[in-house]
Symmetry: C2
Subunit: 348 residues, 2 copies
């Protein structure tokens, strides 16, 4: 049997909670007045407001969000579209979004994008046409979802790439991982490494990803040889496979990885190849995921403020939905290189 709401009042359990009508009846006013009190939009006399608020408290009344939304009330719910939440970046961004949204009184929906999810069903993931959405578009699936969203959906997105081509989309936030990658690369060069190899995460665009670009620029600017980037996936295993054959070459002394998981795989490959870290080989990751400080050796990595990014993304959406009242978009931290044990001077 399905759960229905159309129960006759007689034998309905008393559990059904108070509606705006109940409040109105008890308070001796019209339900519209109750609505006014709730929303604080229109003017209500102080006496009436107090009475209504008291009745609301007594009855434990709480507005039905569905009804509010249906009636065209202010948007108070967001759906987050994200791909694989097993990845640290996406998961942390989601946490930031959820926290900010919840704090602002929004309810948060979540819908995970399959790698092969078609564009057609994206809109179906929203509870109603025009519902607000946030997209975590760090990978291809996310970017496609963002593109596939109908134009009438108010959306804000956390994206991987700094859009330096095409018109700026004011409803996007990103981390400057291009500068961060360049910084990490210069750090390694500064330790005396002749060049730096790079294991890349999958790109979300056809263009050169920002991290790859930053790494490339730094090498180029320093006049160092630029090796071919090694294509990796998201997992430790893919990092392991990407560098396994490379590490036999002792001239490879520094590896920058597109994320910490790749670095984990690279460190294992190094162990198996008999390379000492950081004596023989320096490894630097990206993300500063929770385990990285406790790895053996602990991982030098670029800390990325995904949670802050997520909060900012919601802040942006909030302003888009309600420019008048939404608070300023919170700032998030710049990427920061965290130096730990896995990196050191180039071998003599």
């Amino acid at each position: 049997m399905e759960v229905t709401g159309h129960m006759p009042a007689q034998d309905a359990p008393r559990t059904r909670s108070a509606s705006i009508w109940d409040v109105a009846r008890v308070a001796g006013v019209s339900q519209q007045t109750v609505s006014r009190v709730i929303n604080g939009k229109a003017r209500v006399s102080e006496a009436t407001r107090a009475r209504v608020l008291q009745v609301i408290a007594e009855l434990g009344y709480r507005p039905n969000r569905l009804a509010q939304a249906l009636a065209g009330g202010p948007v108070r719910s967001v759906t987050v579209l994200t791909s694989d939440t097993a990845l640290y970046g996406a998961a942390a961004t989601l946490r930031g979004m959820e926290e900010a949204a919840r704090t602002a009184g929004f309810s948060v929906g979540i819908s995970v994008l399959e790698r092969d999810s078609g564009q057609a069903d994206i809109a179906l993931r929203l509870n109603r046409p025009g519902e607000a959405a946030m997209v975590i578009a760090f990978d291809d699936a996310g970017v496609r979802a963002l593109r596939a969203l109908p134009a009438d959906v108010p959306v804000a997105a956390a994206v991987e790439r700094q859009p330096d081509d095409g018109p700026d989309d004011p409803w996007q936030v990103w981390l400057d991982d291009r500068a961060a990658a360049a910084h990490a690369t210069r750090y390694l060069l500064g330790l005396g490494h002749r060049t730096v190899h790079y294991v890349a995460i999958p790109s979300s665009t056809s263009a050169l990803p920002q991290r790859t670009q930053g790494w490339h620029d730094a090498l180029h600017a320093a006049g160092r040889p630029v090796p071919e980037p090694l294509p990796g996936g998201w997992s430790p295993r893919s990092g392991y496979l990407a560098v396994r054959s490379l590490l036999a070459d002792r001239s490879v002394t520094a590896v920058l990885c597109g994320n910490d998981d790749l670095a984990l795989g690279v460190m294992r490959a190094a162990r198996e190849a008999g390379r000492d870290i950081p004596g023989d080989l320096s490894v630097v990751g990206f993300d500063d995921s929770p385990p990285s400080a406790y790895l053996n050796p602990s991982l030098t990595t670029v800390r990325l403020d995904f949670e802050g990014l997520g909060r900012a993304c919601f802040g942006l959406l909030h302003r888009r939905l309600d420019p008048q009242n939404a608070p300023a978009v919170p700032a998030w931290s710049e990427p920061e290189l965290i130096v730990r044990e896995s990196s050191g001077p180039a071998p003599a």
Copy 2:
């Protein structure tokens, strides 16, 4: 043809997507008939059904979930209440729940419980009174939320503890980590360790947690000394702090940890204490979180099927909501000890 009553506005903006009325008008039937076709509950002639379906396709009509829910339609949305999703167990369970729910056509809401969130506001996290919920109750906050939910909320929960006291709640799923902890303990004893120390995760109940219990039982049954469990938190740091002073004692040769993060901290403490793993000290974790296979040394741990648990939890909820049509609750895997490099024979 004349339609009375709920006639949609003539001059509605074109941007608004099709409603059931639009479909009805184009198909030349009443909106109730469209509703019948959508829900397939009542009988509709084959010709009419075909025509309506065609119009639905043409107009790209999709039912508004909010309106359906408000009108008392079948429940098609769930809110997941969970505490800190930064923890692997909760995050993986959430993934399983989301996947299963999405596959079944449910929309998924998520609300993260703060450590100190009061009981009063739990019901406020649901979009309407009586909305379905799932609770990830692996810790104290989750358990309290589960208790605080009003009785009229259809809920299923993933809990930490096997309820062997009190009446069985048929709407709960759990992993048998008691048996798993016992198994892991026996494994270590079998390697020749005199006893096994245990670093505990925080308890979700006042009673002895299942993992602690299983560890205790195994030691007791083998007639070994039972050391005091070491209270840990959830983080690597807490594991590090919990055992730092202990490891000076060379008679401590085996440590079982309540989760992999604790194990990570324990391994670092061991490194600093100059203890070799697994030569001097065996470390076993719990969860089989993604990095554990790539740690140095790779971590022996108990694999827990959190995703399967999450899927099962949704399956249970689905059956609760719709006993007639919901598919069978999917099975999930038993805990399994994954032996890797971090454990070995007791030192001579």
